[in-house]
């Protein structure tokens, strides 16, 4: 590519992308060489690329090295909680109790619990259904996103 055939990238927004690519070091060697030759002769492109280089270096200063120590553990915990039906926790607690307590106090406690909190299981079940419905809705939206991506690709 010679200088005569090389159109100044700043003359159209589409071509100005070339300068961004140049500063991001994304140009192949031949295009880079052609652009560098042009930059040597064009004050506007020189000014643009110097400013863009400075921005690029400033952005480099924003290192993001922080890692989430127990990210996976928390995620797997959430996954296993979702898998568990809502009555599972109560069942586990209940079986743990009756394994060592005498049967009578356990039965009395159960009777008291049923007497004072007769509505709770229904509310919890409704809550669970609502959460489950939201999750299904969310998953469907995400799959919908995947479908849209598929259409875009075709």
């Amino acid at each position: 590519m010679t200088e005569q055939r090389f159109r100044c990238p700043l003359q159209s927004e589409e071509n100005a992308q070339l300068l961004l690519d140049y500063c991001a070091r994304r140009l192949d060697p031949s295009r880079r060489a052609a652009l560098e030759a042009h930059i040597g002769l064009c004050p506007s492109c020189r000014e643009f690329s110097q400013a863009q280089r400075l921005v690029w270096e400033a952005l480099d200063a924003w290192d993001s090295s922080g890692g989430a120590a127990d990210f996976d553990r928390r995620l797997y915990q959430r996954i296993s909680e979702e898998r568990k039906p809502p009555w599972a926790d109560r069942l586990t607690a209940w079986t743990a109790e009756i394994s060592w307590k005498p049967a009578l106090p356990a039965a009395a406690a159960l009777a008291l619990w049923v007497t004072f909190f007769p509505v709770r299981p229904t509310e919890e079940a409704e809550g669970f259904e609502r959460v489950a419905a939201e999750q299904v809705e969310g998953a469907l939206e995400d799959l919908d996103m995947l479908q849209q991506l598929k259409l875009n690709l075709q």
Binding site: A58, W62, G66, E82, Q135, L146
Partner: protein, 196 residues
């Protein structure tokens, strides 16, 4: 599954892993998590500028991937799908935050959120201060970009994504992405050139 989809899955190792997750192999999900956890958290951190929120949103993104596993088809690059979910979560969070706290929120969060420093040896007090000032300017400049421009810049600069990939994540054309990036870098040049 169509032949084209199978080919794409072979080409996209992540999609192949996701297909194994679909078939009940949880170790493949772990591999996906290992490959993409850090970039997703970093991307979200730069989007919302708060480490705890970024991790929470990243958890949600991976949870959504996991929830959708049963119906997964490798119709797009896995990372496109993952970043699309992450980007939408970030957009929603930013929108909710704006409506809750109006303008001041992002500046407050960037002041209170965890900051990550470059740690090379023992820098002088002066260089730490200069770095801190520069870093604050960068965060501020990024947070002032419109949401889509911000996401585009972060994917372009830090995730080194191609224009076509960014376009698919954001659901717009490649030329729209170029235009978003052009305008975003224009704003950044105006704000940041002096701090480099």
């Amino acid at each position: 599954m169509a032949v084209a989809a199978v080919l794409k899955a072979v080409l996209d190792a992540d999609a192949a892993l996701m297909l194994r997750v679909r078939d009940g192999d949880s170790s493949s999900f772990n591999l996906l998590l290992e490959r993409h956890r850090t970039p997703v958290i970093h991307f979200l951190f730069r989007m919302v500028q708060n480490q705890a929120i970024a991790e929470e949103l990243a958890q949600e993104a991976f949870l959504r991937v996991y929830r959708s596993r049963a119906s997964y088809e490798p119709s797009a690059k896995f990372t496109t799908w993952l970043f699309r979910i992450a980007t939408n979560l970030a957009f929603n969070w930013i929108r909710d935050q704006r409506s809750r706290k109006s303008q001041e929120s992002l500046q407050d969060l960037s002041a209170s959120g965890d900051t990550h420093h470059l740690c090379d040896g023992q820098p002088s007090v002066e260089s730490v201060l200069v770095h801190e000032v520069k870093l604050n300017e960068v965060r501020e400049a990024i947070s002032r970009l419109p949401d889509k421009q911000r996401a585009a810049v972060l994917m372009h600069k830090y995730e080194e994504m191609e224009y076509s990939h960014i376009a698919r994540v954001l659901g717009c054309s490649e030329s729209a992405v170029k235009s978003l990036l052009f305008r975003a870098y224009e704003s950044l040049r105006a704000r940041l050139a002096q701090y480099a």
